[in-house]
């Protein structure tokens, strides 16, 4: 700033240096005599008396009564009291006016806030959801059928209707009247809302942002229970979309990660055969079954169980996979193998059932079956095998058993993959249900929500 300018400041600017007491203007209500006080002196046009509900023209030298008294009951208590001061973005605002408006079954409350340095702001409350609004100069960049574009953001039409003033209290910068009607339209892009209001030929646009109910109490130092929040507010933000996007990212990353691990495993898995044998199930005419080791010379003894040669399972063998194979057809074979530790005698059950059925256009099961066991201690083992087939079957059935260690288990991959995508799926569902609830109050729901 130029020095010359400062030096030659007129004397009247002195008043800027000392704080000026609020130049509140007070007068008596011309209807009931109660003291009325004006905060926004020079700007306020009308004031609604709290005692008798008359509306007075502030600028009329005789304080003309604009409206004698509008119907009002004691139940009209502004949540934010008239005269309450609160700080928004560093500036003190005073709640100077309160208005209840409605459109059919919908009712909402509006609070006029004033700051000499900023001007006016509105607080809008419906169903316990709050929005802080300011006037827009001009109008949005473009208006579509059900959209409005403002600063390159598309807002979706949420509601339109006729708003009627039901109750007023405090001061306003226009001549307020109960019953005043205006045509309103709300467009949303949560947490933002863009509203237009048409009164006669005057079009006004406001732009607002959702505000936490707790913030209202904090800002105005209100020590009351929060208003009951009903449903989802029109422009209530939700972190569900953000959460969902994050979870999708995490899930994709996790899927990629396990896929890589799987690829590595598929290259490094030993997949070593530690035992392999072919057997025959034989059913005798006596009705009891027996097993034979094929190619065994000595098949004279009919034994119910077969004991295999011993084999060695090393330390850190990894998983153990038993694969059984038998060419059953419209039948089953149950192979009850027991993996027995030679030293300790402890057995690990490895029973599998191979079954295969087939019709003209369907089939079920297959001719092989595998099973995994884990944490098998190192040592020498043998298999103790019994097999069973349906009673009515007679004759022989060949089957093979292969034991492998450190195999690649694909089923795990599917289980983990499923677990990974469950989380984003649940979150997608929650996100959608939140939006459906939001739009349930709108006639323009993109979810085609219809109440029965």
């Amino acid at each position: 700033m130029g020095k010359a300018m400062n030096r030659s400041r007129p004397k009247r600017s002195k008043r800027a240096k000392s704080k000026i007491k609020p130049i509140a203007k007070s007068f008596n209500c011309t209807s009931c005599g109660a003291v009325l006080s004006i905060t926004a002196v020079g700007k306020t046009l009308s004031v609604a008396c709290k005692s008798c509900h008359a509306i007075i023209d502030v600028n009329d030298p005789n304080y003309k009564i604009l409206e004698k008294s509008h119907k009002a009951s004691a139940s009209h208590a502004p949540y934010i009291p008239i005269g309450a001061k609160g700080v928004f973005s560093g500036k003190v605002f005073e709640c100077i006016g309160y208005m209840e408006r409605g459109d059919g079954p919908y009712e909402w409350r509006e609070y006029l806030l004033f700051s000499p340095y900023i001007g006016y702001r509105w607080l809008f409350e419906m169903d316990g959801h709050w929005t802080l609004l300011k006037k827009l100069h001009g109008q949005p960049d473009s208006l579509g059928n059900n959209t409005a574009t403002y600063k390159s953001n598309e807002f979706k039409l949420f509601n339109k209707g006729t708003a009627k003033v039901l109750y007023v209290e405090g001061e306003f910068y226009w001549r307020v009247k109960s019953g005043d009607k205006s045509y309103v339209k709300d467009f949303i892009k949560p947490p933002y809302i863009l509203s237009t209001e048409v009164i006669k030929n005057e079009v006004n646009w406001t732009f607002g942002k959702y505000i936490d109910a707790q913030t209202i109490n904090k800002v105005f130092k209100i020590d009351k229970d929060l208003l009951y929040q009903h449903g989802v507010g029109a422009n209530q933000p939700s972190d569900l979309a953000e959460k969902f996007n994050k979870q999708v990212k995490i899930a994709l990353f996790a899927l990629a990660y396990i896929f890589v691990i799987f690829l590595v495993r598929s290259k490094t898995a030993a997949n070593e055969v530690i035992y392999e044998g072919a057997f025959q199930h034989r059913k005798t005419s006596y009705g009891s079954s027996s097993n034979f080791k094929r190619n065994e010379d000595n098949v004279t003894g009919i034994r119910k169980t077969v004991l295999t040669d011993s084999f060695y399972i090393p330390k850190k063998a990894g998983n153990l996979k038993i694969s059984t194979k038998s060419s059953v057809y419209n039948s089953w074979i149950y192979i009850d193998a027991l993996l027995v530790n030679k030293e300790t005698g402890k057995g690990i059950p490895l029973a599998t059932e191979v079954s295969y059925y087939r019709g003209s256009d369907w089939s079920e099961g297959g001719t092989s079956k595998a099973k995994h066991v884990y944490n098998v201690p190192a040592g020498n083992y043998y298999l103790n095998i019994r097999s069973r087939m349906p009673f009515h079957r007679r004759g022989y059935k060949d089957y093979t058993i292969v034991l492998r260690r450190d195999t690649l288990i694909t089923s795990n991959l599917w289980v983990v993959g499923l677990l990974i995508i469950i989380v984003p799926f649940l979150s997608l569902f929650r996100k959608k249900s939140f939006e459906v609830r939001r739009w349930s109050n709108s006639d323009y729901s993109p979810y085609n929500y219809e109440e029965d």
């Binding site: 007129p10 009247r12 800027a16 704080k19 130049i23 002196v41 340095y117 900023i118 001009g138 949005p140």
Partner: protein
């Protein structure tokens, strides 16, 4: 700046802007008309009613990086209330207005003379009006009456001065007004809505209980 003395009370009167032709004596509220260095009296103002305006004569600010100084004000009334028009002089010698209405602030400067001003009868609210290369929408037509003034002004800001004022807006916050006055003819101002914060105002009034400006 020209320093002169009030022909009525002898008090010092400063004409900060070369374009100021009118001033209200800060001591005796006489209306003073300036013809170069000759001053003549044009009646008296009634005492201004205090309002909640944060601006005062002597407030300083910056618009488009050019410092300005608030040196006068005219208070106008229309059928639905009052507004303030603060006369400002920029450090580069030009002048303009800081308009304060319904809690909003806007800076306006005289439109270049090349701009064609439409006749008032051709302006309809809601219609598009081209001013130079910009297309505005006429948002308001009102008759305004001066109810008081202070400091210095570029026209005779006497009580009762009546003009027709048209507000024009653009969706990006650009703002223009056209004023039709019987004595001073028509004049067009271009500018934009702006917050006091962005104007980096200093020397604003402080009100008890309202925090710092």
């Amino acid at each position: 700046m020209i320093k002169l003395n009030c022909p009525s009370c002898g008090g010092e009167i400063n004409f900060r802007s070369k374009t100021s032709v009118f001033a209200v004596c800060g001591f005796c509220l006489s209306n003073i008309v300036r013809h170069d260095v000759d001053l003549s009296l044009l009646g008296k103002q009634s005492e201004l009613q205090e309002d909640m305006s944060p601006i005062t004569i002597g407030s300083l600010g910056k618009f488009n990086n050019v410092p300005f100084f608030v040196c006068g004000r005219i208070i106008v009334r229309w059928e639905d209330g009052y507004w303030n028009e603060w006369y400002i002089t920029f450090k580069n010698g030009t002048d303009g207005w800081l308009v304060e209405a319904q809690g909003d602030f806007a800076i306006l400067t005289a439109a270049p003379s090349s701009i064609q001003i439409p006749a008032s009868k051709d302006v309809v609210v809601g219609n598009r009006i081209n001013l130079g290369s910009e297309s505005f929408v006429a948002t308001d037509i009102k008759t305004m009456t001066c109810v008081g003034s202070e400091g210095e002004l570029p026209f005779n800001g006497i009580e009762g001065r009546e003009s027709v004022s048209i507000d024009l807006e653009k969706s990006d916050g650009q703002f223009a007004t056209i004023e039709y006055n019987a004595d001073d003819g028509m004049s067009c101002y271009l500018g934009r809505y702006i917050s006091l914060n962005k104007l980096k105002m200093i020397g604003l009034r402080e009100f008890e209980g309202w925090g710092r400006p």
